[in-house]
């Protein structure tokens, strides 16, 4: 990633989100608690999801992580608000597919596109996908069959 892109995408857009992530708080109780852990770098988040009438609401996360993993999780939580389990499952799948094969991703959302545009950032793809991957796996194994 060249210097200008780094400044524009990472410094100017991701770092502010990562410094002040949405719903970054310890949940007292939640319908679904999902651990997102990367043992290689030490990131450990706890995602707390609640559903009412099959719509996600009051979702939050807490824990230790880098600016990028925090920003990515913050964007994820903002995206899933009001969506059904199936919609969230598809959203995560499409995003993870987009990370694997960015050319096939249909551009639809500026924050998600922002994350996908950071694929060339050296060594940080695991930070981007940490919470998305763990939420997808959780939904795949416990709710969506």
């Amino acid at each position: 990633m060249n210097k200008n892109k780094f400044t524009e995408l990472y410094h100017n857009r991701i770092v502010p989100i990562g410094k002040n992530p949405v719903n970054f708080m310890k949940a007292e109780s939640a319908g679904h608690n999902i651990s997102a852990i990367n043992p290689l770098c030490g990131d450990k988040f706890q995602l707390a999801l609640n559903f009412q009438n099959n719509k996600a609401l009051d979702c939050s996360f807490y824990g230790f992580g880098c600016i990028l993993s925090k920003a990515s999780t913050s964007i994820l939580l903002k995206e899933i608000e009001g969506k059904s389990v199936d919609q969230i499952h598809s959203l995560c799948k499409n995003f993870l597919d987009g990370l694997k094969n960015p050319t096939k991703h249909e551009q639809s959302n500026s924050d998600i596109d922002l994350l996908l545009s950071l694929i060339p950032l050296d060594g940080r793809i695991d930070c981007i996908k940490l919470s998305w991957e763990n939420l997808y796996e959780y939904l795949s194994t416990t709710i969506v069959h």
Partner: protein, 393 residues
């Protein structure tokens, strides 16, 4: 010194401070690899033709050079794919069949996962105790703690020479002496010391010593397993294939003796030959002087780090490896910012998760020096680091 390393011609602004992960390759190693691949490529130990014969000769010459490098005989040197495979050969081919459920293996909380997980798995599979010596990271490993933990049921000791996370140099001689007096086999993980420390296995008298070529200016994919005469024929093969057999019938197979018993399948011939050029490079170095230079850089870095608010150096680094944390800033975020200034450092757990848990750390940023690093490199690091901290706050 940088002019011996072509990577710095290609990347003149590069400040490479990840030498504990891998060192850069000097010109003669690259030329050796290139020459073999361009002009001498053939499989060793197989063909009845000149190219293959030459490959075999060079391969075996590399074994002889490695033996001299460690002051031993070529019959005691096996080539593997790296430190990890070397340790796995000892854990699974030597220890497992002799370890009983009421016995123990002694290691430390400081170890790299490659000198931790193979023993842990071995103990779990047998039901034996994996006995870990604690460390608070402030000082090198306390040898008497290790020695006092040995008992009549200890069947193996596995200890690193230099911590890849803390940069502390452990007193292995004392531990080896205690192991020998109790007739307990001991493995030394020399991954971080093979490049610049004189490793005389004859004098050390350890049973096994392992390291990777790529952390000592050699190529990737080449590991060294030294085994003493008293244990080498007790390492049973754990991989089976073509090159290591003596005789194969439909009913049974017999194997060659060590070190050839471990050569199942085709070896990394080019890499092993390239490693012999790295030995030439290493033998031409004044290691005492290079270590002193690196110690000076280490001390300077620590002194300057102490002037940065909220920066904490972990432990008491001695050997050119410094792990640090900055309050409320993730190591990855620091590494990304430094990368923008062409400074390569490592961030994370450094494959020492038990140690990180022990120290209640979620990871560190690590800088590690080698012979081509300079005070200017450290000054660039310090400048970039302070800018990064300011931005990330």
């Amino acid at each position: 010194m940088q002019n011996r390393f072509p990577i710095f011609k290609k990347h003149p602004a590069l400040v490479y401070l990840d030498n504990a992960a891998t060192t850069q390759r000097p010109d003669l190693v690259i030329e050796s690899l290139d020459n073999f691949n361009r002009s001498e490529n053939a499989n060793s130990h197989r063909g009845i033709y000149s190219l293959s014969n030459k490959a075999t000769q060079q391969f075996e010459n590399s074994r002889t050079s490695t033996a001299k490098f460690l002051n031993t005989d070529k019959e005691n040197i096996a080539f593997t794919t790296g430190t990890t495979e070397s340790i796995n050969f000892v854990a699974n081919g030597f220890l497992k069949s002799r370890l009983k459920d009421d016995e123990n293996v002694v290691s430390t909380i400081l170890e790299h996962h490659s000198n931790f997980v193979p023993w842990q798995m071995c103990c779990q599979q047998v039901g034996a105790e994996f006995r870990l010596i604690d460390s608070d990271a402030q000082q090198p490993l306390n040898a008497s703690l290790v020695i006092n933990s040995l008992d009549s049921k200890t069947r193996m000791i596995a200890i690193q020479h230099i911590s890849n996370t803390l940069g502390t140099v452990n007193e292995i001689s004392e531990i080896i002496e205690a192991a020998r007096s109790r007739n307990i086999p001991i493995l030394i993980d020399a991954a971080q010391s093979a490049a610049l420390y004189q490793l005389d296995v004859n004098e050390l008298d350890c049973d096994f010593l392992v390291f990777s070529a790529h952390k000592a200016f050699g190529p990737f994919g080449v590991g060294i397993l030294y085994a003493h005469d008293r244990v080498k024929d007790d390492i049973q093969p754990t991989n089976y294939g073509g090159g290591m057999v003596k005789e194969v019938s439909t009913k049974e197979t017999s194997f060659k003796s060590f070190p050839y018993s471990l050569d199942a399948g085709t070896s990394n011939v080019a890499g092993i030959i390239g490693w012999s050029s790295a030995i030439k490079f290493l033998n031409a170095l004044d290691k005492d002087s290079e270590r002193k230079k690196i110690k000076t850089l280490t001390d300077y870095t620590i002194t300057e780090f102490s002037k940065i608010n909220d920066l904490e150096v972990i432990g008491n680094p001695q050997a050119g490896i410094i792990s640090f944390t900055v309050k409320d800033i993730h190591p990855h975020d620091i590494a990304t910012e430094l990368n923008e200034d062409n400074i390569a450092v490592r961030a994370g757990m450094h494959c020492t998760q038990p140690l990180m848990d022990r120290l209640k750390l979620n990871g560190t940023t690590r800088v590690s020096f080698s012979i081509y690093n300079t005070k200017e490199d450290v000054d660039k690091l310090l400048g970039s680091l302070q800018t990064a901290i300011k931005f990330l706050r």
